[in-house]
């Protein structure tokens, strides 16, 4: 009897961002995402989303002939765009959602990119078990990194599959920091609400940088996406999505504290083998 009464509470408690939950979330929500976002399921974007994808390709330093992994590929909107706009790319796309994997396959087929993009339904924490090691030039996460409930493990897995000199590109939202304790509390509270609503684990930038550096990555840049304000979409679509489907809906903008910052990170798995080499690298004496 009491099982039913307490079911709602238990469900709320347990709705954490485990890979299974993320998969279930996208299996049920992908249609809704597609209705509002279109094929590019990213909140931070430009009015013409293709401009933003071109910007991403440029900042991730994607070049012809590269082998890439799109980790958390959605319905392969970005992967298809990159494959069409950069020649000879080979993209391995990975999603935890069976619905997204199937949709991706259909889209890849429809675009005639079967030989360029290969999609699979899998947990991206296991990239190093799914793909050959030291094979890839780029592994990129476009607002998918935050779904990870074990970011250190994920960064380790990316390290294994990257070639020496290969790069990890992350574009995501990160928890904002404030010097006022009350504002920080509010930020953390809203982040928790977002995490619950989207099966997310909004990352702490400092922590991620620390994990990357401890692993041995060389940080090329950490910066806010540099797009002109006139072409910025202002997160309108993401707000529309929240309102339409009541997911993480903001009930009142009065006293609302913006809880996140968007950042791009580009980190390289160094070619150098010894610490001396790494130091020399930083001194530009390669």
């Amino acid at each position: 009897m009491f099982e039913n009464i307490f079911k709602r509470k238990i469900n709320n408690e347990e709705k954490k961002s485990t890979p299974t939950n993320v998969g279930e979330f996208y299996n049920t929500q992908t249609d809704n995402f597609l209705k509002v976002y279109g094929e590019i399921i990213q909140a931070f974007r430009t009015n013409n989303v293709e401009d933003y994808l071109n910007y991403t390709a440029s900042n991730a330093r994607i070049a012809p002939g590269m082998k890439l992994i799109d980790a958390g590929c959605g319905v392969c909107g970005p992967a298809i765009h990159f494959a069409k706009s950069v020649s000879n790319l080979h993209i391995e796309a990975c999603t935890i959602s069976s619905v997204q994997a199937q949709m991706s396959k259909d889209r890849i087929q429809a675009n005639g990119l079967n030989d360029r993009i290969h999609v699979r339904e899998a947990d991206y924490h296991r990239l190093n078990e799914l793909y050959p090691n030291t094979e890839f030039d780029r592994v990129y996460f476009l607002e998918s990194f935050g779904h990870s409930d074990n970011k250190a493990k994920l960064i380790d897995a990316v390290w294994d599959v990257l070639k020496p000199g290969g790069m990890l590109y992350i574009k995501d939202l990160f928890r904002r920091e404030s010097d006022n304790a009350w504002e920080q509390l509010k930020i953390d509270q809203i982040c928790e609400q977002i995490n619950k609503a989207y099966c997310y684990h909004i990352a702490d930038l400092t922590e991620i940088i620390s994990i990357l550096r401890r692993k041995g990555y060389i940080l090329h840049f950490i910066k806010v996406p540099e797009i002109e304000r006139s072409v910025f979409e202002n997160l309108t679509i993401s707000n529309d999505f929240q309102n339409l489907f009541n997911i993480g809906k903001i009930d009142s903008w009065d006293e609302y504290v913006f809880p996140i910052d968007f950042y791009e990170i580009l980190a390289e798995k160094p070619v150098q083998h010894s610490m001396e080499d790494v130091h020399l690298y930083f001194m530009n004496k390669k």
Partner: protein, 375 residues
Amino acid sequence: MDVKLAIRKLSNITRAGDWRFSFVPFIMGCVYLWFYWFQLPFTGSTLLLLTFSLITTFGFAALGYFINEFFDQELDAKAGKINRMSLLNPAQRLGLLVCILFATFLPWVYLPFNEVSLLLICLEIALFLVYSLPFIRLKEKPFLSSFIDASYAYVVPLVLSFYTYSLYAGKSPFSLFFDFFISAVFFIGFRNITIHHINDVFKDIKAGVVTLPQILGPAKTNVLIYTLIVLEIIAFSLSCVCISIEFPYVFVWCFLYFVLLIYSIYNLNFRFDRYFCVNPARHLTDKAYQIWFPIFLLVLLVTEDWRWVFVFIVHFFVLVPFSFFKNTYIVLRLKVRPILSVTINYSIYYTMKLFGVDLKKENKSLLEFFMRGKK
């Protein structure tokens, strides 16, 4: 002039939404308690006493907000807060003040009072003034402002009403129950002003006003609110037990109070975590005082004299928020109904088992079981 619109405007200007469903119903609950405590009969004169109590309660609450808003105009503008007083022209302000003063003081032509009552009324107004007046402005002094707010919003009105009813009844106001009760009310008031300060923390920072939560920070404010809740529950329970000794029916309220607390702990997903002071759980006990406490006392009074039903109806319409009815309906439908359904189903199942029929095994409802022969 449209009366409905005028009332809405008046209630908006006096910020009635802030007090109509919070401390006014609680104070009225206390008034009903005094009726019960002093065993006052339901007569024309006690009804007048009650009506004037309600009017003066509204008056004091509105006066407090009027004074506060009046002297806050400059700071509110700085903080980007909407100050209702700034929306009125001087003539409207004067008219409003006159109405409020009438509502506050005119009932005292009928209500019994003596020097002590006058002293309490003066204390109440003095607290309003020292809290808001620009050259004193104790509202900007952390700790002290919280003490003053808890005093003028809860403690002084409570003592004044108790004293007034004791004068009317001609009985001594002193009792152990009242000591506990007044402590509980102080803790409730202190908690609520702290919550108010938390809600306004960003506006206050913007306006340069330092309040207690800003000094304590979230972690210590959490502990403060948690402690206040524990203290108010202890004090309130002890006061109820004290009344129960003299009036055993009040013991039902003690039981109901604990049931409400347990329900709120479940319903508000009560957790003492770092977000406690900004979560609805900080209002854990408020519904018990603001809605159920007056309702319970009115039910008690109805059992003594059925004519209290009329007061009950008026109280429901004036001092119970619509959301309460909506939430009660949802709770009854979603939570009570399944419990009832399970209780009834199991009763049927085991009753039938006594007669050697296992409805589960037969995969039949009771109705299907009895209808089986007819098919």
